[in-house]
Amino acid sequence: MVRNIIKVRNLKVSYGDRTVLDSVNISVKDGEIYTILGKSGSGKTTLMRSILMLEKSTGIIEVMGVDLNKANNDDKDLIKKSYGVMFQAASLFTSLTVGENVAVPLKEGANIDNNIIFDIVRFKLSLVGLDENVFNLYPYELSGGMRKKAALARALVLDPKIIFLDEPTSGLDPVSADDFDKTISELNKLLGITVVMITHDLDSFFGISNRACVIRDKKVLAEGTPYDIMHQDDKWLKNLFFGNRGRKFTQWNQR
């Protein structure tokens, strides 16, 4: 049996009086691609942010056996070092070049010679499928897809155990999105990285994710394989999968 790398139990997050998430339970297994689905504003990003320790929450969030709500700062730092995060807007440091952006975690984390850092950065850029020429470019000189890839390279630079991706394919054309999915799936297979991603993109959902959960009305509506999720009896899910945009996946269902 594969162990749970992330285990969330009875998670509750509220902003003042407003509860955003209530008694959420999810389990992410080691080495899988796990998708968080849900309507806009359903609390998907909040769930991810709680696991990333950016949000105050109550309940149990266990990552690699450490309960984040009880852990001391040293343990939390260790967990943070094993995370790689890519936010929705890519959020590259605009005043640094792409190369410098990717090198930031390395320079912060350890005392390494510049030419080795240089090689590591170039390797990561190549790994996510970026051309070397972007090394000296600034983020605003890149297209949206390249910016996302650069952010992915930055998330990968310390060889994280888990990478979190917030809508990795949003704003990309279908070809780039496919390309991006392929990259994620390859990294998952090659390096054994666990991937947790938020997406609305049904191609990513059916194409690469192993398991998923659906957040609905502050709670987890369902958790399981894409096939399980698809056959849930829920109006929003039905609209998602069998509405205009989802139609083509009914074929997938029949396969």
Partner: protein, 349 residues
Amino acid sequence: MRLESKGKKVRLFGNLTYKVIKEFDRYAKKETFNEIDLSGAELLDTSFIIYLLKTNKKLAVSEKQKQLIDIVKKNLKDRPIKIKKTGFFYDIGFLTISKLKHLYHFLVFLGEVFIKGLDLILKPKRLRFKMIAKDIELMGFNAIPILATISFLIGAVIAYHGAIRLKQFGANIFVVDLVSVSVLRELGPLIVAILLAGRSSSSYTTQIGIMKITEEIDVIKTMGIEPFDVLVFPKIVSMLISVPLLIILADISGVLGGIIVAKLSLGVTLRDFILRLHHAIDIKTFLAGILKAPAFAFLIATIGSFEGFMTQKNVESIGESVTDSVVNSIFAVIIADAIFSILFRWLGI
């Protein structure tokens, strides 16, 4: 990380990650060996592999590690890319040229303001009165408390310093001339200008700079609205209205400071002060101050907006623009003040 050395072979154990590169590098530089055995390692990350591949040593690895190393090898390129390095003289030249370019862009901007301004005068309906009113409130009205305080204190301080000397000659009453002439002609307008150069031009620059980064200015353009109509002219008009009014306030408040100090430390009564004031100043003194207002207002508003438009699409650039905006507008205001002084002397005002 643990090390075991056997002749020309080194065995590594434990976590081999980016954290121990330096440690191992130190060892590698000291000792001679030609084979590294990684099969005992618990953890091996790509950063460490890259380092090992660069050392050109023979590697003994497990099957799983070999897969990872193959991935790294596949993506690792030998051809180095060049990083631009510049020399001292290049930097000086570059800086000079960029400053000159900056000035050139400012002149272009002034030209644009002039031409679009003429256009606006022909169609005054395009002027956004609501925006002007809002800006006057933010930049003029809200500056009243701080401005009144500063000019009051300046007036008081001048009177106080003058008082010590004037007492020695028994010329107590001339404190009126001292305070009123210096505040009305010079200090009042200058305090207003410097305060607004810090307060308003920085705010204008930030507003326009961030709008440029978030592409809001492009949105305005695509809507068929002239960006200058919304972003520049309301600011210029608002400053043209606020600055003279604030100068009057600074004048009054500065003289008030003088009145109080004159009473307290020189015994000049309010009645004497006012009577003397009629002899000390006339309308020319007041005009010499207030005539500078339009120039100051124009400089503050245009430099503030201009630096905003010069902002590049990165966060650091905002900081640079705001610094430029405040420094340049204060500099410009003081230069303008000097020119006015010479001009007024020629004209005999």
